[in-house]
C-alpha cells in the first residue's frame, strides 16, 4: 500500500510546478487571456518540448506511455496556476478519445501531431437540447457512398475557437436518446460546411458554437465502428473525469492556502480574522473537504490501476466528480466570503480560481448529474 508518486511522476510534477511558479504568474496569465488567441502558442510549444503533451500517449506514437496517474499529476499542478492553455481539451479529452480509438491509421496520423504541439483538438458533443446527457444526440450523419454527411449544432465546445480538429458525436442510427447509434467522427475545423463561432468563457478559456452544414466526412475518419461511439466515450470518461478533478483539486488546495494566509493578516476588530473561532472552524471544514477530495481522487487512481471491475471504477469517478462539485462550491464560496470585499474584485486572483472551479463543475456533468449516475449504479435492483 503506497500513495507516493513514482520518480518519473515526481519529475513531471516538479516540471509543471516550476513552470507555473516561474513563468505563469497572474499578470502573465491575464496578458495571455487578453491576447487575440486567448492562449500562448509560445508556451504550448514549450509544453511540447517539455514532454507534457506526450504524457498519456503510447510509446509507439512517440508518447511517454503514461497512465491516468501521470495525467492527474500534470492537471493538478496546472490547476494551481489556472493555466488557460487547452491541455485538458487537447491532450486528456481529444487525445484520450484517439488513444482509445480502434482506427490505427487515424491514430498514426493525429497523435504524433498532438505530441509535437501542432494539433489542438476538442471534443464536440453537447447540443442545445442535450444538457449533460451525452447520448442525447440529434446531429445526424447520413451515409453517402464511402462517407457520411453531417448536419447539426454543437454548443459550448471547449476551446472550439483554437482547435484544429474536432471529435464530433453524430447519430448514424437510432432515436434521439439511444445509447447505440452514436458515432465519433474526426472533423477538420477548416472543412467545408464547418462554422465556428467562438466566445470567451468566464474562466479565461474559450468555447464555440459549432455548426455543421452538409459536412462531408470520409468513413476513414470514424474513431471506431459506426454506432458504437458511446462505448468508446465510456472507456475514456474515467480519464476525463479524473483529469478535471485533479485540476480542481489543485485549485481547491490553492484557494484554501490563500484564504488561510489572508486570514492571518487581515485585521478586523483589532485581531486577525483567522483568530475568530467561527472562521477557523469553517477553514477546517474547507481543509477537510479538500482532503476528502484528494482521497477520492487517489481512490480513482488506485482503482484505475487495479483489477477493479468497470462498474466499481465508474462509481468512483462519478463520486469523485460529485465530490469535486460539493467541496469545490463550498471552498470557492468560502474563499470569497472570507476575503470579503477584496474577494469580490476582478483584480484579485481568488475570483479567477473560483470561476475555473465553477467551469470544471459544469464540464462533463455537474454534481447532481454525477451523483444520480452514482445512484443508478449503486441502488438499482
Amino acid at each position: 500500500m503506497n500513495f507516493e508518486f513514482s520518480e518519473e511522476q515526481t519529475m513531471i510534477k516538479d516540471s509543471v510546478s516550476r513552470f507555473v511558479r516561474e513563468r505563469y504568474d497572474f499578470d502573465t496569465r491575464r496578458g495571455i487571456i487578453e491576447s487575440d488567441d486567448g492562449i500562448s502558442r509560445e508556451f504550448w510549444t514549450m509544453f511540447a518540448e517539455l514532454g507534457w503533451l506526450s504524457v498519456p500517449f503510447a510509446e509507439e506514437y512517440g508518447g511517454f506511455g503514461g497512465n491516468v496517474v501521470d495525467i492527474a499529476v500534470v492537471m493538478e499542478e496546472m490547476g494551481k496556476g489556472i493555466m488557460v492553455e487547452p491541455y485538458a481539451s487537447t491532450v486528456v479529452v481529444f487525445g484520450g478519445l484517439l488513444s482509445a480509438s480502434t482506427n490505427a491509421a487515424l491514430k498514426e496520423q493525429v497523435i504524433p501531431s498532438i505530441i509535437e504541439g501542432d494539433c489542438l483538438g476538442s471534443f464536440a458533443y453537447m447540443e442545445p437540447q442535450s444538457r449533460y446527457e451525452m447520448s442525447d444526440v440529434s446531429t445526424t450523419a447520413i451515409a453517402t457512398g464511402d462517407g457520411y454527411t453531417l448536419n447539426g449544432v454543437k454548443t459550448v465546445v471547449a476551446n472550439g475557437g483554437t482547435a484544429h480538429k474536432f471529435v464530433v458525436t453524430a447519430r448514424t442510427s437510432g432515436e434521439q436518446f439511444d445509447h447505440s447509434g452514436v458515432s465519433l467522427f474526426l472533423v477538420d475545423a477548416t472543412a467545408p460546411g464547418v462554422d465556428v463561432k467562438a466566445y470567451k468563457m468566464m474562466d479565461g478559456q474559450s468555447a464555440a458554437t459549432l455548426t455543421l452544414t452538409d459536412v462531408a466526412v470520409d468513413q476513414s475518419q470514424l474513431l471506431n465502428a459506426a454506432g458504437e461511439g458511446m462505448d468508446l466515450i465510456g472507456q475514456v470518461m474515467p480519464q476525463i473525469l479524473i483529469g478535471l478533478s485533479a485540476e480542481a483539486l489543485g485549485i481547491m488546495a490553492t484557494l484554501n492556502t490563500l484564504t488561510v494566509e489572508y486570514s492571518k493578516t487581515r485585521q478586523q476588530f483589532g485581531a486577525p480574522i483567522g483568530s475568530f473561532q467561527v472562521l477557523q472552524h469553517r477553514m477546517v471544514d474547507t481543509f477537510m473537504g479538500c482532503e476528502q477530495t484528494k482521497s477520492m481522487l487517489y481512490r480513482g487512481l488506485c482503482e484505475s490501476k487495479s483489477e477493479t471491475d468497470a462498474v466499481a471504477l465508474a462509481k468512483t469517478v462519478h463520486a469523485l466528480k460529485a465530490t469535486v462539485a460539493r467541496y469545490g462550491k463550498i471552498i470557492g464560496e468560502e474563499a470569497i466570503q472570507l476575503h470579503g470585499g477584496i474577494g469580490m474584485t476582478d483584480e484579485l486572483n481568488i475570483g479567477h480560481y473560483v470561476k475555473r472551479l465553477m467551469m470544471i463543475n459544469t464540464s462533463y456533468g455537474d454534481g447532481d448529474f454525477h451523483q444520480k449516475a452514482f445512484n443508478q449504479l449503486s441502488y438499482s435492483a
Partner: protein
C-alpha cells in the same frame, strides 16, 4: 392573528398595480453595464421622477417631509407589488440612507436644503462608510476631517462605493478626533462630489462589471455647515440607520419574483427529455428555498407589525438580513445550475440563438455579484454576532 386585507387595502393594491402597469417601462432594471452607464442612470432617475410625481417616492419618510403616510399594511402591499412586477427598488443611498439621518438629526436648514433634491432624484447620493482597513469593522475607519475654521479638511479613502461614478453628493463617516472608544470621535459629513481633491476610481467586480468604486479624498475642503448634528457624534447617527438598512435587506418580494422565474426556466430546461421542474431532486432544492422564503415573508411581516406598534426595528432585523441574503444566493445558485455549461459563457455579440441559451449571462452575473450580499451591509458573520450578543445575551 390576522393579515386579511380590508376593502381599502385591496383598492390600494389595485391602484399600485395599475400605476406600475401604466408607468413602468423596464429600462431601470436592465443589467448594469459600463457601456450603457449614462442610459442606466437616466432610466433610474426617470422612473424615480415618476414615483415622485405620484407622491410614492418615500414611503418610509414621515409625512411632514414628503412621506406617503401609508399604514404598514399598505407599505407591505406596495413592496410586494413592486417586487412581483420586477421593478427595482429606489436607489437607497439618498432616499433610504442619508435622508432619515438628515430629517432625524439634521438642522432645519439642512432639511430644507437637501431633502427636496433627494425626493426629486435631482441629487444622486452615494455612501462613504467602508474603508480598505475597515470592512465589517466600520469603527476602524481612518479617513480624517480636520477642523479649520469654516471648513473640515478631509483626507482618506473610501471603498466599495456603489455608483460613485454617478453621484452628486456623498455622505461620509470621518474621524474628527481620537476617542477612547473607537466609536467616539467619528462625525457624519455631507460632501459635494464636485469639490476639488475628490477622485473616483472604478472597481471591476468578479462579474466583470463596474458599479463599485474607490473614492479618494486629498485635502478636500467641506464647509462646516455640512456636518450633521454634533461633531464626534456621527457614530450614533449612523448606527440608528443600520437596523433600518438591514430590514430592507430581506428582499422577500424580489426573491419571490426570482423564484417564479426559476420555476419558469425549470419548465423549459430539459434533461433527458424531461423538464427539470419534474426532477424530484431539483424539486427538493427549489422547495428548500421556497419554504424558507414563505417563512421569511411572515418573519418580515412580524417585524413590520412590531415596528408599526411603535418602535424601531430591533436586532432581529439582522435575522432578515441573514436569511434574506442566504435565500437570494440560493436562488442564484439554482439559476446557474439550470444554465449548466452555458453559465460560463461570455457570449458577447452572439445572439441567444447562436449561443443556444438565453438566460445564462444573467444567471452568471447574479450569482457572481450576489456573493457580495453576505459581505456588505455588515457581513453575515457580524450579523450573527449581533444576534448572539443583543438577542441571546451571549
Amino acid at each position: 392573528m390576522d393579515i386579511r386585507f380590508s376593502a381599502e387595502d385591496i383598492a390600494f393594491r389595485d391602484e399600485v398595480r395599475d400605476f406600475f402597469a401604466a408607468e413602468y417601462e423596464g429600462a431601470a432594471s436592465t443589467p448594469l453595464s459600463d457601456n450603457a452607464a449614462t442610459d442606466y442612470k437616466a432610466a433610474i432617475v426617470g422612473w424615480q421622477k415618476k414615483l415622485h410625481a405620484k407622491g410614492w417616492i418615500a414611503p418610509g419618510w414621515p409625512k411632514e417631509y414628503g412621506g406617503t403616510g401609508w399604514t404598514s399594511t399598505q407599505k407591505f402591499i406596495y413592496e410586494t407589488e413592486r417586487g412581483l412586477a420586477g421593478i427595482p427598488d429606489v436607489v437607497p443611498f439618498g432616499l433610504k440612507m442619508v435622508a432619515p439621518v438628515i430629517y432625524t438629526f439634521g438642522s432645519e436648514e439642512q432639511k430644507a436644503r437637501f431633502l427636496p433634491g433627494i425626493l426629486s432624484s435631482d441629487d444622486w447620493w452615494c455612501q462613504g462608510y467602508s474603508e480598505p482597513g475597515a470592512g465589517s469593522d466600520l469603527a476602524a475607519l481612518s479617513t480624517s476631517a480636520d477642523y479649520a475654521g469654516d471648513n473640515y479638511i478631509v483626507n482618506g479613502r473610501k471603498i466599495w462605493t456603489t455608483f460613485a461614478q454617478y453621484a452628486d453628493w456623498i455622505f461620509c463617516l470621518v474621524r474628527t478626533s481620537k476617542g477612547i472608544r473607537r466609536q467616539e470621535g467619528i462625525s457624519f459629513l455631507l460632501i459635494d462630489m464636485n469639490t476639488p481633491g475628490i477622485t473616483v476610481k472604478p472597481i471591476v467586480t468578479i462579474d466583470g462589471k463596474h458599479s463599485l468604486n474607490e473614492v479618494l479624498f486629498e485635502d478636500v475642503a467641506v464647509p462646516t455647515e455640512n456636518l450633521i448634528g454634533e461633531q464626534d457624534k456621527g457614530w450614533t447617527y449612523a448606527k440608528a440607520l443600520l437596523a433600518h438598512e438591514r430590514t430592507g435587506m430581506a428582499e422577500v418580494a424580489d426573491s419571490k419574483r426570482m423564484l417564479e422565474g426559476l420555476k419558469q426556466r425549470a419548465t423549459t430546461e430539459i434533461n433527458g427529455g424531461k423538464p427539470m421542474i419534474e426532477d424530484p431532486v431539483f424539486q427538493m432544492r427549489m422547495s428548500d428555498i421556497e419554504m424558507e422564503l414563505m417563512a421569511l415573508e411572515y418573519t418580515e411581516l412580524r417585524v413590520f407589525a412590531s415596528m408599526a406598534a411603535g418602535g424601531m426595528p430591533g436586532p432581529e432585523s439582522s435575522l432578515l438580513k441573514i436569511k434574506g441574503t442566504e435565500i437570494s444566493q440560493a436562488i442564484h445558485e439554482l439559476q446557474l445550475q439550470l444554465a449548466a455549461n452555458y453559465g460560463g459563457a461570455l457570449a458577447g455579440d452572439l445572439s441567444s440563438n447562436e449561443l443556444g441559451h438565453d438566460f445564462a449571462a444573467e444567471a452568471r452575473g447574479k450569482y457572481m455579484y450576489g456573493r457580495a450580499a453576505t459581505i456588505y451591509g455588515g457581513s453575515n458573520e457580524v450579523q450573527r454576532n449581533v444576534i448572539a450578543k443583543a438577542v441571546l445575551g451571549l
